[in-house]
Symmetry: C2
Subunit: 219 residues, 2 copies
């Protein structure tokens, strides 16, 4: 059984690994977890002893298959809880991270699988990051944006392209969030703007730039 701290380190190394290639160095982990390099050294040695990481002194650390599997379980839990918090409890996209950081450590495979089912097996979290399934499989990143749709097309929103932008705030204001259904009513050649019904409400206008930054699932 992994401790909360071990899980946090595994998740951190997993995230850093997916951003760069090669071994992850001590300081990067320390920065990311807001801890000190000495603490990191201690922990990665522990993880290596447990067969969760491969570690070469002074060279850095990588997850083993076993370690990556555990990291993915934590990521899965984190993102499913985020979906729950946003879609079911009505939290905003930008307010759920800290709570999900806690919920991701609840121990119960049954719980998380039932939660997954309850949420109808979402593929992406409210920030647009993919949710590993029960086997650790991750859906490919979404590629389809609102801007490819034609009048009459209907879709659901997966996420925004740029997670940390004003766009999220704008979308919040016009009530567009994860899972929102959109219908393209009209496309105006003149300025490239889209007329879109949000959840079958009155049509609103979205610019090309906005449309190009909303990932969608075409229905």
């Amino acid at each position: 059984m992994l401790t909360q701290s071990e899980e946090n380190y595994l998740k951190c190394i997993y995230h850093l690994s997916s951003k760069s290639n090669g071994a992850i160095n001590t300081n990067a982990i320390a920065d990311s977890l807001e801890t000190k390099a000495a603490s990191v050294t201690d922990m990665i040695q522990k993880l290596a002893n447990k067969g969760l990481a491969s570690y070469v002194k002074y060279k850095g650390v990588n997850l083993t298959n076993k370690g990556e599997k555990e990291a993915l379980k934590v990521v899965r839990k984190h993102r499913l809880w985020e979906v729950f918090l946003v879609k079911e409890l009505g939290f905003n996209w930008d307010k759920v991270h800290d709570i999900a950081e806690q919920l991701e450590h609840i121990k119960s495979t049954t719980l998380i699988d039932k939660l997954d089912k309850f949420l109808a097996y979402p593929k992406f979290d409210p920030h647009g990051d993919p949710i590993p399934d029960a086997n650790g499989e991750i859906a490919p990143n979404p590629t389809t944006t609102l801007s490819i749709l034609k009048p009459g097309d209907v879709c659901t929103v997966i996420c925004a392209k740029d997670t940390s932008s004003d766009l999220l705030l704008f979308l919040d204001r016009i009530n567009i969030s994860l899972g929102t259904q959109l219908e393209v009513v009209d496309y105006l050649e003149f300025d490239g703007s889209y007329s879109v019904k949000v959840d079958n409400g009155n049509p609103i206008t979205l610019s090309t730039k906005v449309a190009e930054n909303i990932f969608i699932d075409k229905l």
Copy 2:
């Protein structure tokens, strides 16, 4: 900010206090938490120093108002999560305790208040124990049982009188659980049995004894 361990001690002392009067002794807490008396002494001294408990050496411990307030917050969280697990995720009554033991320590007042709202402010958990509201107020224990109803009366199920019995298993089998709607169709003088529609389905028969052990809210 309380640690997980402090919260567990507070909750334990709260529960023991509600079962007996006078100060709670060290061994009772140790038994309940499956720890050793020496550990309990350490912790209750710590709680006393924080103003959460009043403690007299060799005499036992009681919660202060402040301590009871904190304990009630934990109890509230525990029981709300139990409702969520049973009503929303489809867990059985008897399988939720261990998971709720973990969830009760998630730190976020907003979260728990949103969860409360999401669950439509339940007054009792799946075991029939009352859920403190956001101010720590507890509803009085239910007193009305199914056996006082007349044909035509409709009610919802609050809980079973005897929590740790075969009755729960029986009720599970006939799909009666927290919040289930019942309608009394007929009462048979001959053997005191009730004919009852469960969620507007086909009528089934319940004995007097069963009817006397189901707490209900009359509608």
